[in-house]
Structures are given as structure tokens and as C-alpha cells.
């Protein structure tokens, strides 16, 4: 019922944009507050529709998935959480979907962060993943199946130091248990002892630093999940093979959920984002039409 009402309302809102278009051409520009109302509705209404978009899987997401599929149960994956709450709507669904996949596949997860709030985002993602009945049934143990090493300051220098010894940068985990006493880390000295690296990044330090100071120097295999703003900057690293796969923004997160068959928040959020994008585009078109019609009038008025 709510979904139908939301769809009808969206249709009405869409049609009212045509009225705004006509008004603008007539010389009555839209007020800023009206633009705000429309974008607000464009974000909220799709969230009530309970629908998802028919999403094609892009090559970069497919490559990332293929890399993950190659990992054997028991493989150790270093997971770097380099983001904070403002970027969580895009990156948290990726992290949750990955952790669900990893725990179901019995991968061993080593969490760390170059951003102070990263490890706390990881903790939230783990709590969400643990709500899955299959994962809950596995009775996973912190320290044996996954470990959260917390945050370390020093940006790219932390990555460089980890190339020699993880323990140097993370002498204790987030529960304050010494590195040497954590069963999962018994034979993990540096990058050569982890099978794979995945990085969720919203800026600097993030994927660029991991590629330049980690992949290039220590030669481990890595994939990344980035915000939509940052993702286009990663294409050079993708094409050279320094990055084995990339999830870009909300669409990347939704594709990842689809390919893993783990429907989550990104699939719902993507519809809202697409509606918001469509609204932005319509307003840009309205603005341009108003601009050209006023320019035409001015030119006609000049002697």
C-alpha cells in the first residue's frame, strides 16, 4: 500500500516538473526552496517503494568478485577501513556485504584503519553481518575468525611499516590483547602472510596510498571499494592491474550485493540516488532552457 502511494506521488511529482518547466520558459524561475522540496521528495519517496533497479554487473565488479572467489576457506584477508560516518551510506553496505560473504566462506578477517573512525565502522559492519542466521550459527570467535587491530596514525607510513612487521604498527588489538596472543595472527608477520587485501576508502589516506606504498612495493593483491567521487581516480590503477577490482559508489555497492546475492541497503538506496540524479538532471535542463530563452529574448531586444 505504502509502496503504491509512493509510486503515485512520484508520478505526480514528475508531472509537476513539466509545469515548472513551462513556468520557467515563461520567465518565472524556480525558487531555491522549491528545488529543495523536490530533491527531498526524490530521495524519500523511492525509499518507501521497496523496489530495486534491474542492475547490470559491470566488468570491474565482476573482476573483484572473481578474485574473491579464488580465495580458499581459511585464507587470511586484510581489510582496511579508511572512512568515517559521512561516507558510510556508500561504503558501509559494501563492507557489510563483503563481511557476510567472507564469514560464510570461512575467510579469516584482519581489520585495521588509517582513519580514526574506520575500525568503529568495521565493528558496526561486523555486528550487522553477525545478524545473518547462517553466520550466527557458525559461532565465530573474535581473535580466531576475525580480529580488529584498530586505528594507527601515520597514513602511508603505517603501510610501509606493515611491510616489515604488522606488530610494529599494531602491538595490540582493539580489546588490548597483545598481538602475539591472538591465535589468528600467530603466523602473520607482514603482507607476505596475508592472501588478499581489500580497502574501503573515502579519501586520503586510502586506496591511492595502498596502491602506491603497498601493492607496488610489497606486491600483494588488492581490490577496493571507493566513494563515487573517488572511484574515477582509480581507473589508471585498475587498467594496469595494480587494483584487481573496484566497487564505485552506491552503484558499485548495489552491484556487489547483487553478485553476492546479499540484498542490503545499497540496492534500496540506489533507487533513491537514481531518482535524485534524475531530478538534478531535470533541474539542469530547466535552468538551461531558462538561460537560453532569456538570452534569445535579450538578443531580440538589442537593436
Amino acid at each position: 500500500m505504502l509502496s503504491t502511494i509512493a509510486m503515485v506521488l512520484s508520478l505526480i511529482v514528475g508531472l509537476s516538473l513539466i509545469y515548472l518547466l513551462i513556468r520557467t520558459i515563461q520567465g518565472h524561475p524556480v525558487e531555491r526552496r522549491i528545488v529543495f522540496i523536490y530533491i527531498g521528495l526524490a530521495v524519500v519517496l523511492p525509499l518507501l517503494m521497496n523496489k530495486t533497479l534491474p542492475l547490470p554487473i559491470t566488468k570491474d565488479v565482476q573482476k573483484l568478485y572473481d578474485q574473491l572467489e579464488k580465495l580458499q576457506p581459511g585464507s587470511k584477508v586484510l581489510c582496511a577501513f579508511d572512512y568515517d560516518p559521512p561516507s558510510a551510506p556508500e561504503l558501509q553496505p559494501m563492507a557489510v556485504a563483503f563481511l557476510k560473504y567472507a564469514f560464510k566462506k570461512d575467510l579469516k578477517i584482519i581489520i585495521m584503519g588509517l582513519w580514526p573512525q574506520g575500525p568503529q565502522q568495521a565493528q558496526q559492519a561486523i555486528e550487522e553481518a553477525m545478524l545473518d542466521p547462517i553466520i550466527a550459527g557458525k559461532n565465530l570467535v573474535q581473535g580466531e575468525d576475525w580480529v580488529n587491530l584498530g586505528f594507527q596514525s601515520g597514513n602511508e607510513f603505517v603501510i610501509q611499516s606493515m611491510g616489515t612487521e604488522f606488530k610494529r604498527m599494531f602491538p595490540k588489538d582493539n580489546r588490548h590483547i597483545a598481538y602475539g596472543e591472538i591465535p589468528l595472527l600467530q603466523d602473520v608477520v607482514n603482507f607476505s602472510n596475508v592472501d588478499f587485501v581489500i580497502n574501503f576508502s573515502a579519501g586520503k589516506p586510502g586506496t591511492t596510498e595502498w596502491v602506491q606504498f603497498g601493492v607496488d612495493r610489497f606486491g600483494f593483491e588488492m581490490v577496493a571499494g571507493n566513494t563515487a567521487v573517488q572511484a574515477p581516480m582509480m581507473y589508471p590503477y585498475l587498467r594496469t592491474g595494480q587494483l584487481k577490482g573496484l566497487l564505485g559508489g552506491m552503484s558499485g555497492a548495489a552491484e556487489f550485493e547483487k553478485i553476492l546475492d546479499e540484498k542490503g541497503k545499497a540496492s534500496t538506496f540506489l533507487l533513491a540516488q537514481t531518482f535524485a540524479h534524475a531530478t538534478v538532471i531535470i533541474f539542469i535542463i530547466i535552468g538551461n532552457l531558462a538561460f537560453f530563452s532569456s538570452r534569445k529574448k535579450k538578443m531580440a531586444g538589442t537593436p
Binding site: 559521512p86 558510510a88 568503529q120 594507527q152 581507473y235 540524479h277 539542469i284
Partner: protein, 270 residues
């Protein structure tokens, strides 16, 4: 010597790190590890300096009652309270009153100390004495109130209920709200300023439309998705490569200038 010593240090350590990168020997790794530890330590000092600078600026604003002086006050209180929660733990099922009383006493004591050190000269000693008195009261509360305790050397504070709740229910929603507001301002700004005035602006506009509309259902969507992938993989990739190579060369040039002492901006003078 005052000017020459930093130049010598930069030259020696800069050259050492460049050479070290190409020497995969155990001793080389030890040197690298030692120097990287220094960077982390210096970074932590920068954090402490940043905190002190924040406190100084905030107290000065509050004391001079500049416009919006209430905001620095909220900043200082939030900073202190979060640090306090991070370093303490609260006993399960115990009353919260003692804990909150201790925080209040601590905040007032801290404020009196700050006023004593950084405030106006009048009554400076009185404020310092008042702060000291309250600190003693706070210490007594810490000793005799069993509902909470300090956890300086363990990470229990990070799982403190108040610390987690402040992060989950205040910090996350506030930061998310600030970021969400961007959607409104970007739409409004695009509507008012994104105009196809010339060829480049038109190209940018068309590319943006293609990338944003790539999820449109139906055959149009498929075509747009393919075009969007081309935009990202060809023109975008070419431009990004040029930028990355340009930045790389710029970094090498600047690093060489710093190592050779041509660029001396880090010493406070250009």
C-alpha cells in the same frame, strides 16, 4: 648553524630514504623501520599540538564573547566529555549519578584551570585555587565512587556505553546530516550555474547526464550504460593518467628541491 643543521638533516635522511628503497637488505629494513617510527611519533605530537591550538583558540573566543562564542564552548565540552568517556568504564547496573557528577566537577575544574592560565589577570590565583579544589573533589569521587573507574591502560573505555552511544547516536547522525545537506545545495547550484555556455561546458554537461542516467531501465539504459563505461574508461582514464603522472613528476621535483636545499619553505621562510 641554526639554518644549516635542518638542511643537513633533510639532505642526509632524504638521500638515505631514497637509497633505502632500492636496497632489499635486512639492515636497510631496520633503518627504514626506525625512521618510520619517528614519523608516527612526530604525527602524534602534531595531534597534541592541534588539540592545544584548538583549546587556545576556543578559550580566546569564549573569553572575548566573539560572535557565535557558544560553539567553541560546545566544542570544548564535547572534546573533554568524549576523552573522559574513552578513558573510563562504568560498572554494569550501577547508578549513573556519580559518573555524571564526576564529569561535571571535572569540566568545571578544567574550565577554572584554563581561565587561571589563559583568562584575564584579575582573580587568576582564585581561579587556579578553585580549580585545584574541584580537582581534589574529583579525585575523591574517583577513589570512593565504585560505579565507575579509570581505564588508562586498557581499551575498555572504547566499549564504554556512553562513548559508543555518543558515537552511534550523535556523531554518526550529525556527520551524515552535514553530508546529506550537500544533495540540496548541489541540486540548487547545478540548477543556477550549470549552463551549456560553450563547447567544454556542453561536453561536461552531456557526460554528467550520461553517467547519471546509466541505470535507466530498458534499451535506452543499456545504451547509456555502455556509453557511460566508455566515458569512464577512455576520456576519464586518459585525463586521470595525465594527472597522476603530472603529480608524480611534481612530487619528484619538489622532493629533489627540498633534499638539495633549494626549497626551504618547511623552515618557515620561502
Amino acid at each position: 648553524m641554526k639554518r644549516q643543521l635542518p638542511l643537513i638533516l633533510v639532505f642526509v635522511f632524504g638521500t638515505l630514504m631514497v637509497i633505502q628503497y632500492f636496497v632489499p637488505h635486512e639492515n636497510s629494513e631496520i633503518v627504514k623501520g626506525f625512521l618510520l617510527d619517528w614519523i608516527v611519533i612526530i604525527g602524534i605530537f602534531a595531534l597534541a599540538l592541534g588539540l592545544w591550538s584548538l583549546v587556545q583558540v576556543s578559550v580566546a573566543k569564549i573569553n572575548s564573547r566573539k560572535e557565535n562564542w557558544e560553539y567553541p564552548l560546545v566544542t570544548l565540552i564535547s572534546l573533554t566529555v568524549m576523552i573522559f568517556f574513552g578513558f573510563t568504564s562504568h560498572a554494569e547496573n550501577a547508578s549513573w549519578w556519580g559518573y555524571f557528577l564526576a564529569i561535571t566537577v571535572f569540566l568545571v575544574a578544567l574550565w577554572m584551570f584554563l581561565q587561571g592560565f589563559m583568562g584575564q589577570a584579575a582573580n587568576r590565583n582564585m581561579k587556579l585555587l578553585g580549580g585545584l579544589g574541584l580537582l581534589i573533589v574529583f579525585s575523591l569521587l574517583a577513589i570512593f565512587d565504585n560505579s565507575w573507574e579509570f581505564k588508562f591502560y586498557t581499551a575498555e573505555g572504547l566499549t564504554n556505553q556512553m562513548f559508543v552511544h555518543f558515537f552511534d547516536y550523535i556523531m554518526i547522525p550529525l556527520q551524515a546530516t552535514m553530508f546529506a545537506l550537500l544533495a540540496f545545495f548541489i541540486t540548487s547550484a547545478s540548477y543556477r550555474a550549470f549552463r551549456a555556455r560553450n563547447l567544454l561546458a556542453t561536453l561536461l554537461l552531456i557526460s554528467a547526464l550520461i553517467v547519471m542516467l546509466r541505470f535507466t531501465p530498458g534499451p535506452w539504459g543499456e545504451y547509456l550504460a555502455k556509453t557511460s563505461a566508455w566515458v569512464m574508461n577512455v576520456p576519464n582514464l586518459a585525463a586521470q593518467r595525465a594527472i597522476v603522472i603530472g603529480i608524480g613528476l611534481g612530487i619528484v621535483a619538489t622532493a629533489l628541491k627540498v633534499i638539495l636545499g633549494i626549497e626551504r619553505g618547511y623552515m618557515g621562510k620561502g
